[in-house]
Symmetry: C2
Subunit: 143 residues, 2 copies
């Protein structure tokens, strides 16, 4: 396996609702595509929303369809299975992005504070419980 | 929020075991760092393994510590909360990476096949159930 991840797909309960949430957070997407692939009880439908980020595609895909596409039973959501990290350039920006997320409907699980390893960060959960850490690391230059 | 994800953190049950798994898959890491931050019942320890991928850091972090770091109770693992997509340049490479993952201890949930939307892919779960799709998309140039 080459050292590369091309796609991060978040399973969501309601595609339009989550699309709106991430758009309110400032991410841009052409909207739901793939609707021509209708699927059925066994085959996943194609409806997906894609955000082109720098270096990686962030996709929102219904949890029922991801389960079918991966040939797995749909599990319960988990709050702590993984997190996505979003780095910003200043401490104030950590506070601002978390406030923005909360205004868009996210749940703040951990208000920003200093961590022992020298970063300042806080966490929010999106509408499906997916965890994001917004962080400022003084050792890291973020443009 | 800027259109950028800097870090993907996977919660794992056994840090050394998962580090070995991803190394066997061909990813490179200096090993577990942050061990000087010992943590306690309330504060997360710092032990983490980091893989520098192109454009994003893939981190392995104990699930107990991620729960504490995010100020959340530790949830049950979920198979279908998200997936990571790894694109390759040929159909044969999809088969090869999945075989390599299986040899390293992964579970193949869906053997490679054509999807209605024109990609050829299969899925595996890592040792903690995190889902990866290995995919060949003829419309996408992968170097």
């Amino acid at each position: 396996m080459k050292p590369r991840i091309h796609v991060i797909t978040l399973a969501v309960a309601d595609l339009q609702r989550s699309l709106s949430f991430y758009r309110r957070l400032g991410l841009e997407s052409p909207g739901v595509v793939g609707t021509e692939f209708t699927g059925d009880d066994e085959h996943p439908a194609g409806d997906i929303a894609i955000f082109e980020l720098s270096g990686v595609l962030l996709c929102l895909y219904p949890e029922s369809e991801l389960a079918k596409d991966a040939a797995l039973g749909q599990g319960p959501p988990s709050a702590t299975a993984f997190s996505l990290g979003h780095a910003v350039a200043t401490r104030e920006e950590v506070d601002a992005v978390l406030a923005e997320a909360q205004a868009a409907g996210a749940t703040i699980t951990d208000v920003p504070h200093e961590r022992p390893w020298g970063i300042y960060s806080g966490y929010f959960q999106d509408l499906d419980g997916h965890l994001w850490e917004v962080l400022w690391n003084p050792a890291l230059e973020v443009v």
